[in-house]
Amino acid sequence: HTKIDEDFTLDEYKRYGRQMIVPSFGSRDGQVRLKHSKVLVIGAGGLGCPALLYLSAAGVGKIGIIDDDVVDTSNLHRQVLHTTDSVGIHKCESAKRYISRLNPHVQVETYPYRLTNSNAFDIINKYDVIMDCTDTPATRYLINDVSVLCSKPIVSASGLKTEGQLTILNFKNMGPCYRCFYPKPPKPETVTTCTDGGVIGPAIGLMGITMALEAIKLITGYYTKENFKPFLAQYSGYPQQTLRVFKMRNKQHDCAICSPSATITKEIITNNEIDYASFCGKVNTNIL
């Protein structure tokens, strides 16, 4: 792969040509930004697989994948980067294998362990855009707090059964964060995972792809301080497929993590003075 200019090889021009000629992509400059960008995908499951697929195809320079889980047969209807022969292998490893075959220009770093209070800062600090592809409130609050403190934007999505939600949090440290939207954690009994409530593959797959496009828009500089508006996109697969944009609140002046009167600090997190699992509460089994 010999470079034909200071940025790209001939293969890369051929590979990315079709997207470079799309006006809103930002042409060659957009591709250069993608090549120099580092994206961390937290969770290589129903959201992470399609997001990883399209981000690596688009030419993101470096992708980090963090997931402590191994591939299970019950994932395969929606976690389409994993194949039957990768059952039992770490998801981030399985994802890396396909990505390297799809696009050798992408550098992949795998973290086959859980994101925790102690390792989150070091890992998140190494990336420009954080993709929250996890499936519990506890991880979402942890990712939010650390990303805010590290001044990193978050592309966050979720899905269940036939529906999904998408947003961008902590945009250039001026947009609202997860705690601005959800100051109080939900009661655990009201929280359903894809494992318990079920999910249809294309519905969660579609959300993963919308995440990839939002990441591309962030990296190519499409969103600016002037044109960015806080939003939540709500997808429904039934009765008819729709994706609607809700106009959302701005950064909240009393937010516990991202406002001037924030009370949560890096030390509080790294010293484990905040335990996100108990913050979100255990399911109170005697109510069930």
């Binding site: 979720s158 100051p183 995972t193 969660i204 106009k247």
Partner: protein, 101 residues
């Protein structure tokens, strides 16, 4: 005298109205005075099929945290929350926050 509004339950919240997502309501309240708080009470008493489901919708006398409320596709935080004065033709969307991934 009734105010014609549309109410939607998304994110699985339609479980509280037997799976019906969209409700076109003719709310017997005074336009210009009735607030979103009044509408939430009206919904709780008329649309929620099984009283057992009320806690899915209401907690501490307001909409349960974990449910986003939109007025004409806009976060109610931007429209005065419960004090918003409802108007004929308004669309009120209640959507459960999803966490799965």
């Amino acid at each position: 005298m009734a105010i014609k509004v549309k109410v939607e339950f998304l994110g699985g919240l339609d479980v509280i109205s037997s799976g019906v997502r969209e409700h076109k309501l003719s709310v017997p309240l005074e336009e210009g005075e009735a607030t979103l708080k009044d509408l939430v009470d009206y919904i709780t008493n008329t649309i929620i099929t099984d009283p057992k489901d009320i806690p899915v919708f209401i907690e501490d006398d307001t909409v349960r945290p974990g449910i986003l409320v939109l007025i004409n596709d806009t976060d109610w935080e931007l429209e005065g929350g419960e004090d918003y004065v409802i108007e004929s033709g308004d669309v009120f969307t209640f959507t459960s926050t999803l966490h799965g991934g």
